[in-house]
Symmetry: C2
DNA sequence: GGCTGGCTATGTCAAGCGTCATATTCTACA
DNA sequence: TGTAGAATATGACGCTTGACATAGCCAGCC
Protein backbone atom coordinates (compact mmCIF):
# COMPACT_ATOMS: atom_id res chain seq x y z
CA UNK A 1 0.00 0.00 0.00
CA UNK A 2 1.32 3.36 -0.93
CA UNK A 3 -0.38 5.50 1.68
CA UNK A 4 1.34 3.36 4.27
CA UNK A 5 4.64 4.92 3.33
CA UNK A 6 3.08 8.34 3.35
CA UNK A 7 1.50 7.80 6.75
CA UNK A 8 4.78 6.57 8.19
CA UNK A 9 6.52 9.67 6.91
CA UNK A 10 3.92 11.96 8.44
CA UNK A 11 4.03 10.18 11.79
CA UNK A 12 7.81 10.10 11.77
CA UNK A 13 8.00 13.79 10.96
CA UNK A 14 5.59 14.58 13.78
CA UNK A 15 7.68 12.53 16.18
CA UNK A 16 10.95 14.12 15.15
CA UNK A 17 9.44 17.59 15.25
CA UNK A 18 8.24 17.02 18.79
CA UNK A 19 11.76 16.01 19.80
CA UNK A 20 13.99 18.34 17.84
CA UNK A 21 11.78 21.09 16.52
CA UNK A 22 10.96 22.02 12.97
CA UNK A 23 14.28 23.19 11.60
CA UNK A 24 16.31 20.41 13.17
CA UNK A 25 14.09 17.85 11.47
CA UNK A 26 15.45 17.11 8.02
CA UNK A 27 13.61 15.12 5.42
CA UNK A 28 16.59 12.83 5.09
CA UNK A 29 16.36 12.03 8.76
CA UNK A 30 12.64 11.39 8.52
CA UNK A 31 13.18 8.73 5.90
CA UNK A 32 16.16 7.32 7.81
CA UNK A 33 14.14 7.22 10.98
CA UNK A 34 11.06 5.63 9.44
CA UNK A 35 12.73 3.30 6.98
CA UNK A 36 10.84 4.88 4.12
CA UNK A 37 12.27 5.54 0.67
CA UNK A 38 13.82 8.90 0.11
CA UNK A 39 12.72 9.01 -3.49
CA UNK A 40 9.07 8.89 -2.51
CA UNK A 41 9.11 12.26 -0.85
CA UNK A 42 8.58 14.12 -4.08
CA UNK A 43 5.68 11.87 -4.89
CA UNK A 44 3.78 12.06 -1.66
CA UNK A 45 4.67 15.65 -0.88
CA UNK A 46 4.95 17.61 -4.12
CA UNK A 47 5.24 20.86 -2.18
CA UNK A 48 8.20 19.45 -0.29
CA UNK A 49 9.09 19.89 3.33
CA UNK A 50 6.49 22.57 3.88
CA UNK A 51 3.77 20.08 3.04
CA UNK A 52 5.28 17.37 5.22
CA UNK A 53 5.33 19.73 8.18
CA UNK A 54 1.75 20.79 7.59
CA UNK A 55 0.54 17.20 7.46
CA UNK A 56 2.56 16.27 10.53
CA UNK A 57 1.01 19.19 12.38
CA UNK A 58 -2.59 18.26 11.74
CA UNK A 59 -1.69 14.64 12.50
CA UNK A 60 -0.30 15.64 15.88
CA UNK A 61 -3.30 17.87 16.52
CA UNK A 62 -5.77 15.09 15.91
CA UNK A 63 -3.82 12.69 18.08
CA UNK A 64 -4.62 14.97 20.98
CA UNK A 65 -8.04 16.30 20.10
CA UNK A 66 -9.47 12.84 19.54
CA UNK A 67 -9.06 11.48 23.07
CA UNK A 68 -9.68 14.92 24.54
CA UNK A 69 -13.01 15.33 22.80
CA UNK A 70 -14.13 11.84 23.69
CA UNK A 71 -13.29 12.16 27.36
CA UNK A 72 -14.79 15.59 27.90
CA UNK A 73 -18.00 14.45 26.25
CA UNK A 74 -18.33 11.27 28.26
CA UNK A 75 -16.87 12.29 31.58
CA UNK A 76 -16.78 16.05 31.79
CA UNK A 77 -14.30 18.88 31.91
CA UNK A 78 -12.23 17.82 34.90
CA UNK A 79 -11.79 14.31 33.56
CA UNK A 80 -10.80 15.86 30.23
CA UNK A 81 -8.21 18.01 31.95
CA UNK A 82 -6.80 14.97 33.75
CA UNK A 83 -6.63 13.03 30.52
CA UNK A 84 -5.05 15.91 28.67
CA UNK A 85 -2.29 16.17 31.22
CA UNK A 86 -1.90 12.42 31.59
CA UNK A 87 -1.46 12.19 27.85
CA UNK A 88 1.43 14.62 27.88
CA UNK A 89 2.90 13.00 30.93
CA UNK A 90 2.85 9.72 29.09
CA UNK A 91 4.64 11.20 26.11
CA UNK A 92 7.27 12.77 28.31
CA UNK A 93 8.00 9.67 30.35
CA UNK A 94 7.84 7.24 27.47
CA UNK A 95 10.51 9.22 25.65
CA UNK A 96 12.54 10.04 28.74
CA UNK A 97 11.58 13.69 28.43
CA UNK A 98 12.86 13.96 24.91
CA UNK A 99 9.59 14.53 23.10
CA UNK A 100 7.34 17.51 23.66
CA UNK A 101 4.63 19.12 21.57
CA UNK A 102 5.26 19.62 17.87
CA UNK A 103 2.56 22.27 17.63
CA UNK A 104 4.35 24.32 20.25
CA UNK A 105 7.56 23.85 18.32
CA UNK A 106 5.99 25.42 15.25
CA UNK A 107 4.64 28.28 17.36
CA UNK A 108 8.06 28.97 18.86
CA UNK A 109 10.35 28.50 15.89
CA UNK A 110 10.42 30.10 12.51
CA UNK A 111 10.62 27.71 9.65
CA UNK A 112 13.30 28.77 7.20
CA UNK A 113 13.71 26.97 3.95
CA UNK A 114 17.23 26.99 2.54
CA UNK A 115 16.31 26.24 -1.03
CA UNK A 116 14.38 29.41 -1.71
CA UNK A 117 15.96 32.10 -3.81
CA UNK A 118 16.52 35.64 -4.86
CA UNK A 119 13.16 37.18 -3.99
CA UNK A 120 13.43 39.84 -1.35
CA UNK A 121 11.43 37.95 1.25
CA UNK A 122 12.41 34.46 2.33
CA UNK A 123 9.09 32.69 2.75
CA UNK A 124 6.91 34.78 4.95
CA UNK A 125 3.72 33.34 3.51
CA UNK A 126 4.80 29.78 4.24
CA UNK A 127 5.60 30.64 7.84
CA UNK A 128 2.27 32.43 8.24
CA UNK A 129 0.51 29.36 6.97
CA UNK A 130 2.23 27.16 9.51
CA UNK A 131 1.34 29.61 12.27
CA UNK A 132 -2.27 29.62 11.11
CA UNK A 133 -2.30 25.85 11.27
CA UNK A 134 -0.79 25.81 14.77
CA UNK A 135 -3.23 28.47 15.87
CA UNK A 136 -6.10 26.42 14.53
CA UNK A 137 -4.98 23.36 16.46
CA UNK A 138 -4.63 25.28 19.69
CA UNK A 139 -8.04 26.81 19.06
CA UNK A 140 -9.44 23.36 18.45
CA UNK A 141 -8.22 22.01 21.78
CA UNK A 142 -9.41 25.16 23.46
CA UNK A 143 -12.84 24.83 21.89
CA UNK A 144 -13.19 21.30 23.21
CA UNK A 145 -12.43 22.41 26.74
CA UNK A 146 -14.63 25.46 26.30
CA UNK A 147 -17.58 23.34 25.21
CA UNK A 148 -17.17 20.99 28.16
CA UNK A 149 -17.15 23.88 30.60
CA UNK A 150 -20.17 25.47 28.97
CA UNK A 151 -22.03 22.19 29.19
CA UNK A 152 -21.40 22.19 32.92
CA UNK A 153 -22.78 25.66 33.39
CA UNK A 154 -19.77 27.97 33.21
CA UNK A 155 -20.49 31.39 31.69
CA UNK A 156 -19.15 31.88 28.15
CA UNK A 157 -16.46 34.46 28.86
CA UNK A 158 -15.21 32.59 31.89
CA UNK A 159 -15.20 29.32 29.99
CA UNK A 160 -13.10 30.89 27.26
CA UNK A 161 -10.57 32.19 29.76
CA UNK A 162 -10.38 28.91 31.63
CA UNK A 163 -9.92 26.94 28.43
CA UNK A 164 -7.09 29.25 27.42
CA UNK A 165 -5.50 28.81 30.83
CA UNK A 166 -5.68 25.03 30.67
CA UNK A 167 -4.19 24.68 27.20
CA UNK A 168 -1.53 27.34 27.64
CA UNK A 169 -0.34 26.21 31.03
CA UNK A 170 -0.16 22.59 29.97
CA UNK A 171 1.87 23.46 26.89
CA UNK A 172 4.23 25.60 28.91
CA UNK A 173 4.58 22.96 31.58
CA UNK A 174 5.44 20.25 29.08
CA UNK A 175 8.32 22.37 27.83
CA UNK A 176 9.47 23.04 31.38
CA UNK A 177 9.33 19.34 32.19
CA UNK A 178 11.55 18.70 29.20
CA UNK A 179 14.11 21.16 30.49
CA UNK A 180 13.94 19.79 34.02
CA UNK A 181 13.79 16.13 32.97
CA UNK A 182 11.08 15.75 35.59
CA UNK A 183 7.31 15.47 35.57
CA UNK A 184 6.95 17.32 38.83
CA UNK A 185 5.84 20.64 37.24
CA UNK A 186 3.08 18.76 35.45
CA UNK A 187 1.80 17.39 38.73
CA UNK A 188 1.95 20.80 40.38
CA UNK A 189 0.10 22.48 37.55
CA UNK A 190 -2.47 19.72 37.27
CA UNK A 191 -3.27 20.04 40.94
CA UNK A 192 -3.83 23.79 40.73
CA UNK A 193 -5.82 23.54 37.52
CA UNK A 194 -8.13 20.98 39.06
CA UNK A 195 -8.74 23.35 41.94
CA UNK A 196 -9.55 26.19 39.60
CA UNK A 197 -11.88 24.17 37.40
CA UNK A 198 -13.82 22.50 40.18
CA UNK A 199 -14.25 25.79 41.99
CA UNK A 200 -15.54 27.37 38.78
CA UNK A 201 -17.95 24.49 38.30
CA UNK A 202 -19.23 24.64 41.88
CA UNK A 203 -20.48 28.16 41.41
CA UNK B 1 35.69 48.91 23.67
CA UNK B 2 35.85 45.25 22.89
CA UNK B 3 33.16 43.98 25.20
CA UNK B 4 30.77 46.26 23.39
CA UNK B 5 31.00 44.07 20.31
CA UNK B 6 30.62 41.01 22.45
CA UNK B 7 27.59 42.40 24.22
CA UNK B 8 25.96 43.33 20.95
CA UNK B 9 26.51 39.81 19.67
CA UNK B 10 24.95 38.29 22.76
CA UNK B 11 21.95 40.60 22.67
CA UNK B 12 21.49 40.07 18.96
CA UNK B 13 21.68 36.33 19.36
CA UNK B 14 19.09 36.45 22.13
CA UNK B 15 16.80 38.53 19.96
CA UNK B 16 17.12 36.29 16.94
CA UNK B 17 16.66 33.18 19.07
CA UNK B 18 13.45 34.58 20.50
CA UNK B 19 12.14 35.16 16.97
CA UNK B 20 13.40 32.20 15.01
CA UNK B 21 14.53 29.64 17.53
CA UNK B 22 17.98 28.22 18.14
CA UNK B 23 18.69 26.30 14.97
CA UNK B 24 17.32 28.95 12.64
CA UNK B 25 19.69 31.48 14.18
CA UNK B 26 23.01 31.37 12.34
CA UNK B 27 26.11 33.12 13.55
CA UNK B 28 26.44 34.81 10.19
CA UNK B 29 23.02 36.30 10.64
CA UNK B 30 23.84 37.43 14.14
CA UNK B 31 26.79 39.47 12.90
CA UNK B 32 24.78 40.72 9.91
CA UNK B 33 21.93 41.71 12.18
CA UNK B 34 24.09 43.46 14.75
CA UNK B 35 26.68 45.01 12.46
CA UNK B 36 29.46 43.26 14.31
CA UNK B 37 32.54 41.75 12.69
CA UNK B 38 32.35 38.11 11.78
CA UNK B 39 35.98 37.51 12.50
CA UNK B 40 35.49 38.46 16.12
CA UNK B 41 33.31 35.49 16.86
CA UNK B 42 36.24 33.19 17.39
CA UNK B 43 37.78 35.72 19.72
CA UNK B 44 34.84 36.39 21.96
CA UNK B 45 33.37 32.90 21.80
CA UNK B 46 36.18 30.38 21.53
CA UNK B 47 33.72 27.53 22.03
CA UNK B 48 31.72 28.78 19.07
CA UNK B 49 27.98 28.85 18.65
CA UNK B 50 27.36 26.76 21.71
CA UNK B 51 28.93 29.46 23.85
CA UNK B 52 27.04 32.24 22.10
CA UNK B 53 23.76 30.47 22.77
CA UNK B 54 24.64 29.91 26.40
CA UNK B 55 25.50 33.56 26.92
CA UNK B 56 22.40 34.70 25.08
CA UNK B 57 20.30 32.45 27.30
CA UNK B 58 21.55 33.83 30.60
CA UNK B 59 21.29 37.32 29.14
CA UNK B 60 17.63 36.75 28.30
CA UNK B 61 17.05 35.19 31.70
CA UNK B 62 18.41 38.18 33.55
CA UNK B 63 16.43 40.60 31.44
CA UNK B 64 13.32 39.04 32.92
CA UNK B 65 14.41 38.13 36.41
CA UNK B 66 15.71 41.63 37.13
CA UNK B 67 12.42 43.51 36.84
CA UNK B 68 10.50 40.55 38.21
CA UNK B 69 12.58 40.38 41.36
CA UNK B 70 12.44 44.10 41.92
CA UNK B 71 8.68 44.33 41.52
CA UNK B 72 7.79 41.36 43.67
CA UNK B 73 10.00 42.68 46.42
CA UNK B 74 8.60 46.18 46.38
CA UNK B 75 5.00 45.56 45.48
CA UNK B 76 4.16 41.93 46.10
CA UNK B 77 3.28 38.80 44.20
CA UNK B 78 0.25 40.03 42.28
CA UNK B 79 2.07 43.12 41.07
CA UNK B 80 4.94 40.86 40.04
CA UNK B 81 2.57 38.67 38.09
CA UNK B 82 1.12 41.70 36.33
CA UNK B 83 4.57 43.00 35.49
CA UNK B 84 5.72 39.59 34.27
CA UNK B 85 2.80 39.36 31.89
CA UNK B 86 3.00 43.01 30.86
CA UNK B 87 6.64 42.47 30.02
CA UNK B 88 5.83 39.65 27.64
CA UNK B 89 2.91 41.53 26.21
CA UNK B 90 5.26 44.41 25.47
CA UNK B 91 7.70 42.12 23.68
CA UNK B 92 4.94 40.57 21.61
CA UNK B 93 3.35 43.84 20.56
CA UNK B 94 6.59 45.70 19.99
CA UNK B 95 7.70 43.02 17.54
CA UNK B 96 4.27 42.45 16.01
CA UNK B 97 4.11 39.01 17.60
CA UNK B 98 7.36 37.90 16.03
CA UNK B 99 9.46 37.55 19.16
CA UNK B 100 8.72 35.13 21.96
CA UNK B 101 10.87 33.62 24.69
CA UNK B 102 14.31 32.37 23.79
CA UNK B 103 14.46 30.18 26.89
CA UNK B 104 11.33 28.38 25.78
CA UNK B 105 12.88 27.97 22.35
CA UNK B 106 15.83 26.14 23.87
CA UNK B 107 13.49 23.97 25.92
CA UNK B 108 11.46 23.02 22.86
CA UNK B 109 14.14 22.55 20.24
CA UNK B 110 17.17 20.39 20.11
CA UNK B 111 20.34 22.17 19.18
CA UNK B 112 22.21 20.28 16.51
CA UNK B 113 25.63 21.40 15.44
CA UNK B 114 26.50 20.54 11.87
CA UNK B 115 30.23 20.78 12.28
CA UNK B 116 30.59 17.85 14.63
CA UNK B 117 32.03 14.64 13.35
CA UNK B 118 32.47 10.95 13.34
CA UNK B 119 31.83 10.15 17.00
CA UNK B 120 28.79 7.99 17.47
CA UNK B 121 26.85 10.58 19.41
CA UNK B 122 26.23 14.00 17.93
CA UNK B 123 26.50 16.35 20.89
CA UNK B 124 24.30 15.05 23.62
CA UNK B 125 26.35 16.70 26.33
CA UNK B 126 26.06 20.11 24.71
CA UNK B 127 22.30 19.79 24.46
CA UNK B 128 22.05 18.67 28.07
CA UNK B 129 24.03 21.70 29.11
CA UNK B 130 21.65 24.02 27.28
CA UNK B 131 18.68 22.29 28.88
CA UNK B 132 20.28 22.64 32.30
CA UNK B 133 20.74 26.33 31.65
CA UNK B 134 17.14 26.78 30.53
CA UNK B 135 15.93 24.78 33.51
CA UNK B 136 17.97 26.99 35.80
CA UNK B 137 16.43 30.14 34.34
CA UNK B 138 12.90 28.80 34.68
CA UNK B 139 13.71 27.75 38.23
CA UNK B 140 15.06 31.22 38.91
CA UNK B 141 11.86 32.93 37.80
CA UNK B 142 9.86 30.39 39.71
CA UNK B 143 11.90 30.97 42.84
CA UNK B 144 11.24 34.71 42.70
CA UNK B 145 7.51 34.15 42.49
CA UNK B 146 7.73 31.46 45.16
CA UNK B 147 9.53 33.79 47.54
CA UNK B 148 6.97 36.54 47.01
CA UNK B 149 4.11 34.17 47.77
CA UNK B 150 5.84 32.84 50.85
CA UNK B 151 6.41 36.37 52.07
CA UNK B 152 2.69 36.93 51.84
CA UNK B 153 1.83 33.88 53.89
CA UNK B 154 1.24 31.12 51.36
CA UNK B 155 2.26 27.65 52.52
CA UNK B 156 5.48 26.30 50.96
CA UNK B 157 4.02 23.49 48.86
CA UNK B 158 1.19 25.65 47.61
CA UNK B 159 3.55 28.48 46.81
CA UNK B 160 5.70 26.12 44.78
CA UNK B 161 2.72 24.90 42.78
CA UNK B 162 1.40 28.39 42.17
CA UNK B 163 4.78 29.64 41.05
CA UNK B 164 5.03 26.77 38.59
CA UNK B 165 1.56 27.54 37.29
CA UNK B 166 2.35 31.22 36.78
CA UNK B 167 5.60 30.68 34.90
CA UNK B 168 4.39 27.75 32.83
CA UNK B 169 1.10 29.26 31.80
CA UNK B 170 2.70 32.55 30.86
CA UNK B 171 5.30 30.83 28.72
CA UNK B 172 2.68 28.75 27.01
CA UNK B 173 0.44 31.73 26.46
CA UNK B 174 3.21 33.77 24.87
CA UNK B 175 3.72 31.01 22.32
CA UNK B 176 -0.01 30.81 21.67
CA UNK B 177 -0.20 34.57 21.21
CA UNK B 178 2.54 34.30 18.63
CA UNK B 179 0.57 31.73 16.69
CA UNK B 180 -2.64 33.72 16.96
CA UNK B 181 -1.03 37.12 16.33
CA UNK B 182 -3.14 38.39 19.17
CA UNK B 183 -2.60 39.27 22.81
CA UNK B 184 -6.03 38.11 23.83
CA UNK B 185 -4.89 34.81 25.35
CA UNK B 186 -2.45 36.74 27.54
CA UNK B 187 -5.28 38.88 28.87
CA UNK B 188 -7.45 35.86 29.52
CA UNK B 189 -4.73 34.01 31.34
CA UNK B 190 -3.66 37.05 33.33
CA UNK B 191 -7.20 37.55 34.54
CA UNK B 192 -7.53 33.95 35.75
CA UNK B 193 -4.08 33.92 37.32
CA UNK B 194 -4.87 37.07 39.28
CA UNK B 195 -7.99 35.40 40.60
CA UNK B 196 -6.06 32.34 41.66
CA UNK B 197 -3.28 34.27 43.35
CA UNK B 198 -5.48 36.71 45.23
CA UNK B 199 -7.71 33.91 46.41
CA UNK B 200 -4.66 32.01 47.64
CA UNK B 201 -3.41 35.11 49.45
CA UNK B 202 -6.78 35.80 51.08
CA UNK B 203 -6.72 32.50 52.91
C1' DG C 1 2.63 -10.72 -23.61
C1' DG C 2 3.06 -5.72 -23.41
C1' DC C 3 2.35 -1.49 -21.64
C1' DT C 4 1.24 2.13 -18.48
C1' DG C 5 1.43 4.71 -14.30
C1' DG C 6 2.24 4.83 -9.40
C1' DC C 7 6.27 4.22 -6.67
C1' DT C 8 11.12 3.79 -5.54
C1' DA C 9 16.31 4.30 -5.94
C1' DT C 10 20.22 7.19 -6.55
C1' DG C 11 23.00 11.10 -7.89
C1' DT C 12 23.67 16.03 -8.62
C1' DC C 13 23.14 20.82 -7.59
C1' DA C 14 23.50 25.35 -5.36
C1' DA C 15 23.38 27.31 -1.07
C1' DG C 16 24.05 27.72 3.71
C1' DC C 17 26.25 26.23 7.83
C1' DG C 18 30.21 26.39 11.77
C1' DT C 19 34.97 26.40 12.10
C1' DC C 20 39.56 27.45 11.29
C1' DA C 21 43.75 29.89 9.40
C1' DT C 22 45.70 33.83 7.90
C1' DA C 23 46.35 38.72 7.29
C1' DT C 24 45.46 43.27 8.63
C1' DT C 25 44.21 47.10 11.70
C1' DC C 26 43.73 49.15 16.11
C1' DT C 27 45.16 50.28 20.87
C1' DA C 28 47.42 50.79 25.03
C1' DC C 29 51.44 50.80 27.62
C1' DA C 30 56.75 51.10 28.02
C1' DT D 1 57.75 56.35 19.64
C1' DG D 2 57.72 51.52 19.28
C1' DT D 3 55.86 47.42 19.82
C1' DA D 4 53.09 43.59 21.61
C1' DG D 5 48.68 41.79 21.90
C1' DA D 6 43.88 42.28 21.25
C1' DA D 7 40.41 42.91 17.78
C1' DT D 8 38.87 42.66 13.13
C1' DA D 9 38.60 41.21 8.20
C1' DT D 10 38.46 37.64 4.74
C1' DG D 11 38.59 33.41 2.53
C1' DA D 12 38.73 28.34 2.46
C1' DC D 13 37.19 23.69 4.02
C1' DG D 14 34.12 20.01 4.78
C1' DC D 15 29.61 19.07 5.59
C1' DT D 16 24.39 18.96 5.36
C1' DT D 17 20.33 20.55 3.54
C1' DG D 18 16.01 20.66 0.19
C1' DA D 19 15.05 20.19 -4.44
C1' DC D 20 15.29 18.13 -8.68
C1' DA D 21 16.36 14.75 -12.60
C1' DT D 22 16.95 10.42 -14.28
C1' DA D 23 16.44 5.66 -14.26
C1' DG D 24 14.60 1.20 -12.41
C1' DC D 25 10.81 -1.58 -10.41
C1' DC D 26 6.42 -3.80 -10.23
C1' DA D 27 1.77 -4.08 -9.88
C1' DG D 28 -2.82 -4.29 -12.79
C1' DC D 29 -5.25 -4.08 -17.14
C1' DC D 30 -5.77 -4.29 -22.52
Amino acid sequence: MSSDTRAKMVAGAADLMSRRGVNATSMREVVRHTGTPRGSIGHHFPRGKQQLIEDALVFAGKQVSGPLQHLTETRGAVAGLRAFIALWRGTLERTEFQAGCSVLAVAVEQYVNDATEKDSEPDEAAQQHLLDLADGIFADWQRIMFTALRREGVAPARARRLAALVIASTEGTVAMCRAARSAQPLDDVRQELELVLSSALAK
